[in-house]
Symmetry: C3
Subunit: 138 residues, 3 copies
């Protein structure tokens, strides 16, 4: 069995932002030498997400509006977590979007559907944060 590990680092200028990381994950699969296996990608922070969806700017706008409706940032005082912090909403938004994705690796490549793109979803940015890529297989 082979295994491979890589961290992807981010320092995004906005509080909330989506970054397409499909190419970086594909590069990790290549580097791993794994032909058949599984690839896990997860946020290492609890106010960020890794998820799969469409790379379409209209939809990304819809996600922003929708998440603000389901788990609004303000008023900060509505959340008990926001004593010393102001990011309770980011914990909730990441819960909806998910911490991780697990993908198949088949014949040496990510086994994705035609429109599946992998995103790092930042909900409390403006500082250095990271995601983990872990690959196992043969």
């Amino acid at each position: 069995m082979k295994s491979y590990r890589k961290e992807l680092w981010f320092e995004l200028p906005r509080r909330r932002q989506l970054v397409n990381v499909t190419r970086e994950v594909e590069a990790a699969v290549q580097a791993s030498g794994v032909r058949e296996g599984l690839c896990l990608v997860n946020a290492m922070h609890i106010t960020a997400s890794v998820f799969i969806n469409d790379d379409e700017s209209g939809l990304h706008h819809d996600f922003e509006v929708w998440l603000e409706k389901l788990a609004p940032e303000k008023p900060h005082s509505q959340y008990r977590h926001n004593g010393a912090e102001d990011n309770a909403d980011a914990h909730l938004k990441r819960t909806i979007m998910g911490r991780e994705v697990v993908m198949a690796i088949t014949e040496g490549a990510l086994d994705l559907g035609p429109w599946e793109q992998i995103f790092y979803g930042e909900f409390d940015g403006r500082r250095r944060k990271r995601a983990l890529v872990k690959i196992i297989g043969e």
Copy 2:
């Protein structure tokens, strides 16, 4: 290490529909010959879901009502993604329900709790779509 891959195809007559695929996934585990390992099942489309819950028609009705409350289909004009398309709500509904499940395989069978059933959740049907089963182990 063994690996096994299978696609499950769907062409559902309704826009939204849940299909129990537990038997098909169990058959894939049998066919794989894996005794100890992991089984990933994921939608290959970004307007569909694979999830685990109860096979009970009342609950499935509750899911439909609930998802329409959290991410309503209409009016289509409320979503920016709906320029040429009308399926933005399906991207959001699938986000809540999840893209994938990962299950343990133990002693040659899916290691599920007594009420766990695997579903393909379609949120933008009436065309051919598919889910992926990938199994690794020994």
Copy 3:
């Protein structure tokens, strides 16, 4: 390839309750002898969740309030699933929080970010229920 399986059992006095299981999962990783691999932890019940977030009581209170807003328990009559049962809301809450987490194992330990803690989320307690830990790797 090595594999390891362990059940974690709960009988919680409240209907809804979060339990930090990070230490139990770490102990399973030690017991497995796996140095590089993947660790799956999933609820074996469809009214419970396994998820990763912060171990902070203010945030846990926020989760309770938020889940009651998105998928309220009462009135029980609002859900069709609640014929003989009263736990439809628990199926919905667990859907938001997620069934499972998959984590990397690197150099013999869980490969988690600094604030990542693993929780069993109970949404229909007061009876014996369990989560599954399954580890594969080398």
